[in-house]
Amino acid sequence: MANTEERTLTYVAAVAEAVEEVLNEQETAFVAGEDVAGAGGVFGSFRGILEKFGSDRVIDTPISEEGIIGLGVGSAATGLRPIVDIMFMDFMGECMDEIANQMAKMRYMFGGSAKLPITILTMSGAGMNMAAQHSQSLEVWLCHLPGLKVVAPSTPYDVKGLIIAASRDDNPVFVVLNKLSLRVSGPVPEGDYEIPIGKAEIVRSGSDVTVVTYSRMVSESLKAAEELAKNGIEAEVIDLRSLQPMDSDTVIESVSKTQRAVVVHEAVRFAGLGGEIASQIQERAFDYLDAPVARVGAPFSPVPFSPVLEQAYLPNAKKISAEVSALLG
């Protein structure tokens, strides 16, 4: 009998539970990263995992990001299914060759003979006064690389389902998590389930405008939608969940109905995913559009430390509803 009482978990606890499911299911899966074992991850993403699976499968690495990604690539190519952790997404700078030139391309360059079932967990996002090198949203670096998949869950439910899906995928999948969402709670079923990679979700239906977003900006967009509803504007909010591959069909279908679109992300607006999505909308739904596609994103600056500046920097519900209101004139 199913539980009538829905069980809830925090976003960060959902990470740990997903990792546990994966390690239970797949003998060749192991976890490696900085402070993932003894400390259980600096965010608590791996709490209890070492105790359950032991130090052969849960491995503290040196502070060597290039080595960590290389460990993932080489072990995956030779039959294992690594889960590797890059503590902060900003640290990808240390290992970008292994990501961009090795992991992303090996299968293709080898004519399809190599298989790289790697799951890479990493944290993105600002809002915690962590300054310019610990706050970035760099998902677009990854989305630009053929050979990689990229997901960015917004809820604990999606965190667990997407990590499990990532671990079963035979390709490298980056799971881009969000720091400010770590303590957010939501329903998470026990046992295993998958959220299909490449499938968006309509998290709010509406008829007047489509808001396309992902990660923490989903909750900000939903807040904005509630505000807008007070003024009689009904926004449809789409959580992309998966950024590469991207479920453009769901976006196009929605925009064909609402005839207006705003793309929202925390990443810098210039050359962010918003540009790609806006372009796809005009390519595929131009005739339906009543207004240009609008974009909300961070301004063109590094993330500032000062709380006052950081708040000015970050996209939020207020900025989103202002953009939507302007669009509807």
């Binding site: 400390a39 503290d60 502070i63 990001e65 310019a132 301004p299 600056s301 430390f305 006052v308 500046l309």
Partner: protein
């Protein structure tokens, strides 16, 4: 002690300045008054003080996430430093950098750094610049035991020896990278052993003994300035506070006994014992100095508290020159 009294007192003061600033900063952070993360330098003061006592503003340093101590030892002002930690407009970086990016170009301080291991290659560039401009200075890069596992350290070490650059690579080995003990992150005991692989001297020094640090750095600086190339100086030390803040996350990754053992070798306490023994500074005078410096630090906090937040209109300033 072969160092003259003035030098000894100078080193002593630098250590107390760091200790007092960091203790107050940690207290403020844990009271919720400083946003973000603070990595405090308490326990490691002998390293920054022993080396910085020999540098001028024209000698460049690169620092780490644990960078306040380096900046103070290089002459940083409490007020402007606290203002930066608070994110105020009067801070050294106008509130844009915070603890992890605190810097002051006028003092020859190329920044704390949020990226572990990012400093050594930058210091190679600064040392190259010194050599290129034919000035009589050195560059010093501070980094941790953990950082010595980043490829960036190894590339920098190789280039520095290859080009015979006037550089000191100072590894502050405090036994841990975050919560991982050294034995779990590298197979060597002495990071200094790695120097041999690059063709430079590797020196192990007691990092709790400011005089030992001073003297080995002095030799390395002489060598660097004579055009003989870099030295890797490993200072064995310990951080008395947690990785972040004072109490941190409360993880049980090291024992109280271990901490207490190291605290018996508190660099300031040991130094003051020596100063008193040699008749350089009496215990009471040392206590007085602590009090004076605490007052100065508290004034710095006041300055920071009373400083304005940055104007949000400055958000887009300084992205480009």
């Amino acid at each position: 002690m072969s160092l003259d009294d003035a030098t000894l007192l100078d080193i002593h003061q630098r250590m107390i300045r760091i200790r007092t600033f960091e203790t107050e900063a940690g207290r403020l952070m844990e009271a919720g008054k400083i946003p973000g993360a603070l990595h405090l330098y308490v326990g490691q003061e002998a390293v920054a003080a022993g080396i910085m006592a020999q540098l001028s503003n024209e000698d460049w340093i690169t620092s780490t996430h644990r960078g306040h101590g380096h900046l103070i030892a290089k002459g940083g002002e409490y007020g402007r430093m606290f203002a930066e930690l608070f994110g105020k407009s009067t801070g050294y970086c106008k509130g844009k950098g915070g603890s992890m990016h605190i810097s002051n170009m006028d003092l020859g301080m190329l920044g704390a750094n949020g990226i572990v291991g990012a400093g050594p290659p930058i210091a190679v560039g600064a040392a190259f610049s010194i050599k290129y401009r034919k000035v009589n200075n050195v560059a010093v890069t501070f980094f941790g035991d953990g950082a010595s596992n980043e490829g960036s350290f190894h590339e920098a070490a190789n280039m520095a020896t290859l080009y015979k650059l006037p550089l000191l690579l100072v590894c502050e080995n405090n036994g841990y990278g975050e919560y991982t003990p050294q034995a779990n992150h590298q197979a060597v005991v002495d990071v200094a052993d790695r120097a041999a692989g690059y063709g430079m001297p590797g020196v192990v020094v007691d990092g709790m003994d400011a005089i030992a640090v001073y003297e080995s750095a002095e030799a390395a600086i002489e060598r660097a300035k004579a055009g003989e190339g870099p030295t890797l100086l490993e200072c064995k030390t310990y951080r008395f506070f947690d990785h972040v803040g004072i109490r941190g996350m409360g993880l049980a990754y090291r024992t109280d006994e271990e901490l207490q053992e190291w605290q018996k070798r508190d660099p300031i306490y040991m130094f003051e014992e020596k100063l008193a023994e040699q008749g350089v500074l009496a215990k009471e005078a040392a206590t007085k100095l602590h009090e004076t410096i605490l007052k100065e630090v508290q004034e710095g906090i006041k300055f920071a508290e009373n400083s304005p937040d940055p104007d949000p209109a400055t958000l887009l300033e300084d992205v480009y020159a």
